[in-house]
């Protein structure tokens, strides 16, 4: 069914490092009714339905870009990364990464990218990470001098040299993730796919990993595609955001564009001399919170230039700030408002297994 798009590697020097055209992935899932009788019946007769994890996605990513894939759970982000890294094959459409069709799994392609999954451990569990690094050296055919230089640079950047000789199972989640990143970057990949790399990490570990990724990306011009649920990751790292919902791209552009495109309000916080009277502030905008003399108002973006001077004129304002609506709120609203695709295609199919 899928289009394997054979025909030899495309020269990626001038082209996009990642180019995706009408990429779709459909799964067939079995419905399993509750109860023992239904389970026994299910041994002989099952109903299945198609689920479209990705619906004809188009995307182009240039060399050195840092792109975030945002979307709610089940939106198709990880499926997209798995297609781009060649783990699964698509139902329709084509993709090229570094000039290769990922699901053909050429060794030449696989030597040039890395995939890190925050929820999966790729290091040897019972052994120190140094053993996994040594294996990595053999698999990726890294010569000894280059291996030692790269490993030393990476472990020093993340300050994990002392952890290399400790069995992985004895490390904390944050320490493990840092070593996973070192392993993934030992062969100096040109493209890095990161699937929720900061999931479950504390703020210090998140911050360290942000700095590390920024440094690596800037120094080596690595093209990075990141999926995450943490807006801090996005704000710290990504110039470009691709929002995926229900398997389709809803938005593709700079982070600021999301704010411009999907919010109609600004948040104005005022520190007044005294607690305002009930209803006093409503003429300026919607009061989100009034806590003593501190008032938070939601004001239409188009009116902000008129309303703010008026507030400053008519109220005793000691201090104020004007901010965009928090990114988390914008994105959550975006996900909620995303149109649900038609389900006419999802016909239930009877199958006898």
């Amino acid at each position: 069914m899928h289009n394997s798009n054979r025909g030899g590697p495309v020269d990626p020097d001038d082209a996009a490092v990642i180019s995706v055209d009408s990429l779709a992935k459909e799964y067939r899932v079995y419905d399993k009714p509750e109860g023992l009788l239904a389970s026994v019946t299910g041994l002989f007769h099952r109903t299945s339905r198609p689920v479209e994890a990705l619906r004809g996605v188009n995307l182009s990513v240039g060399k050195g870009e840092f792109v975030a894939l945002l979307g709610p759970n089940g939106a198709g982000k990880t499926t997209f990364l798995k297609l781009l890294s060649g783990i699964i094959t698509p139902s329709r459409g084509t993709a090229h990464v570094l000039g290769h069709v990922p699901w053909e799994r050429d060794d030449d392609f696989r030597r040039r990218f890395a995939l890190v999954m925050g929820q999966r451990n790729q290091l040897w569990w019972d052994l120190p990470a140094a053993e996994s690094f040594r294996l990595h050296k053999e698999i990726y055919r890294i010569d000894s001098a280059r291996f030692e230089r790269t490993r030393d640079e990476l472990v020093d950047l993340l300050d994990v040299r002392r952890l290399m000789l400790q069995p992985v199972r004895e490390l904390s989640l944050g320490e493990r993730m840092k070593l996973e990143l070192v392993a993934a970057l030992l062969h100096e990949p040109e493209v890095l796919f990161l699937d929720e790399p900061t999931i479950g990490l504390d703020v210090v570990a998140q911050h360290t990993i942000h700095n590390f990724l920024k440094t690596v990306q800037a120094e080596r011009r690595v093209t990075v595609v990141l999926t995450t649920h943490y807006m801090k990751d996005v704000a710290a790292l990504c110039e470009r955001v691709v929002v995926i919902t229900h398997g389709s791209i809803l938005h593709d552009g700079p982070l600021e564009e999301i704010v411009d495109r999907f919010t109609t309000h600004k948040i104005v916080t005022l520190d007044l001399d005294a607690t305002p009277a009930p209803g006093q502030m409503e003429r300026f905008g919607f009061p989100c919170e009034i806590r003593g003399p501190r008032v938070t108002l939601r004001i239409d973006r188009t009116r902000i230039a008129d309303v703010l001077p008026e507030i400053l004129r008519s109220e005793s304002v000691r201090d104020f700030s004007v901010e965009d609506v928090p990114l988390e709120e914008i994105v959550a609203e975006l996900f909620r408002a995303a149109p649900v695709p038609s389900v006419s295609h999802a016909s239930v199919v009877e199958a006898t297994a």
């Binding site: 799964y27 990880t78 798995k82 890294s85 060649g86 783990i87 699964i88 094959t89 799994r105 060794d107 030449d108 696989r110 030597r111 990218f113 890395a114 995939l115 999954m117 929820q119 999966r120 790729q122 040897w124 019972d126 052994l127 053993e131 040594r134 294996l135 053999e138 698999i139 990726y140 055919r141 069995p167 699937d195 929720e196």
Partner: protein, 272 residues
């Protein structure tokens, strides 16, 4: 090829380091394995207190039969040490999505999935098998010719290749089904047929089993052919079996490779 050997040695080294880390577990595995084997040998010794031959006029008297048992021990220990631990782990890797990490590495996935774990404790049985073979051959009336000694390791490799191919096809089923926890059991049931001389499969029930296990799933060629070569004089029938073992090994490797590749193309991965 050198690279794959080097990677395999890295795997083996890491597994040895791990086994040494959990020394008590390693020793327990050796003891369990040797205990199970000793019980089997005791059972065969017991049988030979009632009979002088397995099957009338088959030639499998006590010493040749123990050469047969030793051959089985050697083949099974190689398979159990090199391939079975990885295959058993594959079920979990498919179920949890751990296979994803293997597929993104620039390495043959079949190699990686079938050889990344080495169970050194299983070699204990093989060492006992070598000792038992030496004991049995030294007490046999017939002494194997130099040609038989040259053919023996080659046919051992053929036996290992046939069993390995079976494991790979069962592993492919795991990838297609998403879960196949009976993999080891199924392999055990199948290989049970290879533990006895082919001559016992005769008569209205045995004949079809012998045909099935020789030409369809060539499990009867695994131990029987090398054991016959070392325990009995080379005859016209022996040469026919040697050719069959060589062809079966090559065909099994090829078919299992194709089945495995087809299964990988259908891999769905697990949700994260």
């Amino acid at each position: 090829m050198n690279r794959y050997l080097s990677i395999f040695l890295t795997f083996a080294r890491a597994c040895l380091v791990r086994d040494m880390t959990f020394r008590a577990n390693f020793l327990l595995e050796c003891v369990t394995s040797l205990g199970w084997m000793s019980m089997n040998l005791a059972f065969y010794v017991l049988i030979f207190t009632f009979t002088s031959e397995i099957g009338k006029n088959t030639g499998w008297s006590k010493e040749p039969f123990f050469a047969f048992v030793a051959t089985g021990l050697i083949i099974n220990s190689i398979v159990q040490a090199l391939f079975m631990p990885s295959a058993e782990e594959l079920t979990e890797m498919v179920r949890t999505g751990g296979l994803d990490a293997v597929l993104v590495q620039p390495l043959d996935a079949q190699f990686m999935l079938s050889m990344h774990r080495v169970d050194f404790s299983s070699f204990a049985n093989g060492l006992v098998g070598v000792g038992l073979l030496g004991w049995a051959v030294s007490r046999m009336d017939y002494q194997p010719s130099p040609v038989a000694w040259l053919l023996y390791p080659l046919l051992i490799l053929c036996g290992v290749a046939i069993l390995y191919s079976l494991i790979i096809m069962l592993a492919a089923a795991t990838i297609l089904l998403g879960r196949n926890q009976s993999l080891y059991d199924f392999w055990f049931y199948l290989t049970n047929f290879s533990r006895y001389p082919a001559e016992i499969y005769s008569g209205p029930w045995g004949g079809p089993i012998r045909m099935l296990c020789t030409f369809v799933i060539p499990i009867l060629l695994v131990v029987n052919v090398p054991a016959r070569v070392i325990a009995m004089p080379l005859s016209g029938e022996s040469w026919g079996l040697i050719a069959a073992a060589l062809i079966a090994a090559a065909a099994s490797l090829l078919i299992s490779r194709l089945v495995f590749q087809a299964a990988l193309a259908k891999y769905r991965s697990a949700s994260s």
